[in-house]
């Protein structure tokens, strides 16, 4: 029996001058999990978006069950049994799971909710998970939302499932549940594709792996023949040293002492619940937790951007203690406290997307300059210095930062913050969306700061990186600290357990 489900032949696609895919030929088989591996911007998602009908190829053919097909809209893809689960979930928040699942489907004028709910339960039981059809999406955790997406695709009778970075937002335990589901789907004869840049999960779950680099298919192999090293080299195109250099720590005074910190969210629930910890000079404190466990509120309450309900934030400089609670960012700056914050939302909170590098540098210093007019000379020098020091790829200092790639935007932001010579540096998800090389540049920068005696707080999501980079890891769960562990001794499983233990 021919188990080929979908075949792509010589697919090319470009956006303007950027060639996203070039002559890619790839086959997807039933009863197999294929991992599509590549760095950010290597064209993995673009390639799969052509199967799901979001984009249409410039040239090349697609065959489903041996017959050439034209997939010009998501509807065509569904009709051919191809379903894609996007990285950013495509769900409507105010609708229920069931409503999201039947969205856009033809049928009776009104909706038979009872029948629909039992059909959904049937599908979820078949693959070994539970899903409440009447729960609203805005009340769901990330992994529940993902399950809705998966059922949505299965409900439409998909034979082939494409998952774009499915574990990016899951805890290790949740990822294991997902992998188990994927294996069940594979056993029931479906073709499964996962798009990923995490090597461990490629080895763990896939049967076959295809590697894309700069839009081209550079390697295709059975997973049993692959190693972490061969996969990395395939992805990056040259040998890469994957170890993060961790030098012997030289801890200094406790720069920041947070005690019983409690914050409320908009609904009046506790976003942070009695959080207590200390941050020493010369250390990197990692913060782990499921997305939305209070990381944002923690960063923003320390930096004076989020109202504090209770508790204290003590900053120490040369044995002089300052209470930061209740201060606004400008009051913190006036006190001469050098606190730097690299927020998660780089182009929203960190930089002004429409301004160029010079103006973005100036945001940090314009108010300490005298006179009515601004002086662009100094910020321009800083910008030029950063471009050289950090290898920032940009047409020039006067290009709006929004035109820069993700990695370069992050270098601009982190560079600016480091340039202010902070004694406390708070970074939130600094490598999100960055490729391997850029990520390692960022890790090295953070390590340099640690060596210089800066107290660094690192909010991260990749547990492997947290374990390698940090000295201690604080785990947040529902706004409370569920544990602070020594990163040199802790294991991934231990942290994963703390992330979900209430």
């Amino acid at each position: 029996m021919n188990n080929s489900a979908v075949k792509m032949v010589n697919i090319s696609k470009s956006f303007g001058t950027v060639q996203a895919n070039k002559n890619v030929s790839l086959e997807f088989k039933r009863g197999e999990i294929l991992a599509l591996l590549g760095e950010n911007g290597s064209g993995k998602t673009t390639l799969m978006n052509m199967l799901s009908g979001i984009y249409y190829q410039d040239s090349g053919e697609v065959f489903v069950d041996g017959e050439e097909v034209v997939i010009s809209s998501p509807k065509d893809a569904f009709d051919l049994g191809i379903g894609m689960i996007h990285q950013h979930f495509k769900l409507v928040d105010v609708l229920t799971a069931a409503e999201n699942i039947i969205l856009g489907l033809k049928g009776s004028v009104t909706i038979n909710r009872g029948k629909l709910a039992s059909e959904i339960r049937e599908i979820s039981q078949k693959y070994g998970f539970a899903l409440d059809p009447n729960k609203k999406v805005y009340d769901m955790s990330v992994s529940e939302k993902q399950k809705v997406e998966i059922v949505k695709v299965l409900y439409r009778g998909a034979d082939m499932l494409i998952l774009d970075e499915p574990t990016a937002v899951l805890t290790p335990q949740e990822s294991d549940v997902l992998f188990e589901m994927l294996r069940k789907m594979k056993e029931s004869g479906k073709a499964v594709v996962i798009i990923t840049h995490k090597l461990q999960e490629v080895l763990f779950v896939s049967d076959r792996v295809a590697i894309l680099r700069r839009g081209e298919l550079v390697a295709e192999m059975n997973t049993e023949d692959a190693t972490i090293k061969s996969l990395t080299e395939g992805m990056v195109g040259r040998k890469v040293d994957l170890a993060i250099k961790r030098e012997e720590p030289h801890f200094g005074e406790e720069k920041l002492i947070v005690k019983d910190l409690t914050c409320l969210n908009v609904e009046g629930h506790k976003a942070l619940n009695d959080v207590s910890f200390s941050l020493r000079a010369g250390e990197i404190l990692g913060v782990a937790g499921i997305a939305g466990s209070g990381q944002r509120e923690l960063c923003e309450s320390i930096t004076g951007l989020y109202p504090v309900e209770n508790g204290s934030i003590i900053y120490t400089e040369n044995d002089v203690q300052n209470e930061l609670r209740g201060l606004t960012p400008s009051e913190i700056i006036k006190k001469g406290i050098s606190l730097a914050f690299v927020p998660e939302d780089r182009l929203g909170m960190g930089l002004v997307a429409g301004l160029d590098m010079v103006d973005n540098m100036m945001l940090k210093s314009y108010n300490i300059e005298k006179g009515m007019l601004v002086n662009r000379k100094r910020p321009k020098r800083i910008a030029e210095m950063l471009i050289k020091a950090l290898d920032i790829v940009t047409p020039g200092v006067s290009t709006p930062v929004r035109r820069l790639s993700g990695g370069n935007v992050q270098k601009v932001l982190l560079g600016r913050e480091i340039n202010s010579e902070p004694s406390v540096l708070i970074v939130a998800y600094p490598v999100r969306g960055l490729d391997i090389n850029s990520s390692y540049t960022i890790y090295n920068l953070l390590n340099e700061q640690r060596k210089k005696g800066v107290a660094v707080m690192y909010i991260g999501e990749d547990l492997d990186v947290l374990l390698e980079l940090c000295d201690r890891i604080m785990v947040l769960c529902n706004g409370a600290v569920s544990g602070i562990v020594d990163a040199t001794k802790a294991t991934k499983e231990q942290i994963g357990f703390l992330m979900t233990s209430d």
Binding site: P74, F78, L91, V92, D93, K136
Partner: protein, 328 residues
């Protein structure tokens, strides 16, 4: 206080509410598709003048043989089509050419007011003075109510003695409620308004939904204008007759939390405020103060509703932004 005054006050409140309710329902439908059309006032003017024209010219040519139902029917059809044309223009500009929604809506208001008053004045000139419905048509739009039920004491006056457009508006509200909450198409429409990329990804034709919602919504707004010229003013064109009621309808959409059922109560409440002076005059309070009341209440309602924190009764998320699939 005399019970008759209260029932009469309620009665007049409902009459005043009808144009508001049509405007609000039309705008709810439009906004549910993710388009915020600020042109309600303009579309009501278009519906008022063109609906009236249809009836006027029918009566002009039919003469003594005028059948009131046909006159009103034509006013309904052309009033709807005029408003729908406004909604269609809005869709062409915002959906196809991706013009800014707010600016387009404001332009549509200015355009509609101009078109409405121009056509209205032309009608008046044609009629050598002012237009007026024939007796036959007036009988059809009169507040005759429902036989027998209207004779029930108090309740009969309050609920069963209105003109047919009032009941039409209420039925429209119930129909819209059913459509949005129970039907597949309604569900798809809500998805388009909340997250067009999600709707697109499941094969819903976002462009078609947005065009239809804004056009039909505009048509319903047009009916509101038609009620003003044909029913409230008995077929006479009064310069600037819509007089800001389109704007109150836009505010009522927010007040009603995008729910047709609440729009009914909101419209009656605001209708009541606009006729307050006639029923509860206070010595020494000038008429202008009463005139301010609905607008002051609008501001008050907007402030109140903007601090409301419900996820459900919020504006559809995609409102104000235009959708373009290939955007990366």
């Amino acid at each position: 206080m005399d019970i008759d005054i209260l029932t009469n006050f309620f009665f007049m409140a409902v009459i005043a509410a009808t144009p508001l309710l049509f405007g609000t329902l039309g705008e709810i439908l439009t906004q549910k598709s993710g388009s915020i059309n600020l042109g309600v006032e303009g579309m009501m003017f278009m519906g008022a003048s063109i609906g009236l024209s249809a009836s006027y010219f029918y009566e002009f040519y039919a003469g003594d043989g005028t059948i009131g139902y046909i006159a009103l029917g034509l006013a309904v059809i052309f009033g709807f089509l005029a408003g729908a044309l406004g909604g269609f223009i809005y869709s062409v500009l915002t959906v196809t050419f991706r013009a800014n929604q707010n600016v387009t809506g404001l332009a549509l208001t200015i355009f509609g007011i101009g078109v409405g008053n121009l056509i209205g004045d032309l009608l008046s000139t044609h009629a050598h003075g002012f237009t007026s419905s024939t007796e036959a048509t007036r009988r059809v739009v009169a507040n005759v109510g429902i036989p027998f039920l209207r004779d029930i004491p108090i309740l009969g006056r309050m609920l069963f003695s209105y003109n047919m457009m009032v009941y039409f508006a209420i039925i429209m509200a119930l129909l819209l409620m059913w459509f949005l909450n129970k039907t597949r198409v309604g569900l798809n429409l809500r998805a388009v308004g909340e997250s067009p990329s999600t709707a697109d990804a499941v094969g819903i034709n976002v462009t078609k939904y947005k065009y239809l919602a804004a056009s039909i919504g505009g048509g319903i707004c047009g009916l509101g204008g038609m009620v003003i010229s044909m029913v409230d003013n008995s077929g006479t064109w009064v310069f600037n007759c819509v007089a800001g009621r389109g704007w109150i309808a836009v505010a009522l959409v927010i007040f009603a939390a995008w729910k047709p059922s609440r729009a009914i109560f909101g419209a009656i409440l605001f209708g009541g405020l606009s006729v307050l002076r006639l029923y509860f005059p206070l010595d020494g309070v000038p008429a202008q103060v009463y005139d301010i009341v609905p607008y002051a209440a609008t501001i008050f309602a907007l402030v109140l509703t903007s601090i409301r924190k419900s996820k459900e009764s919020a504006q559809p998320k995609a409102c104000g932004t235009n959708y373009f699939r290939e955007e990366r």
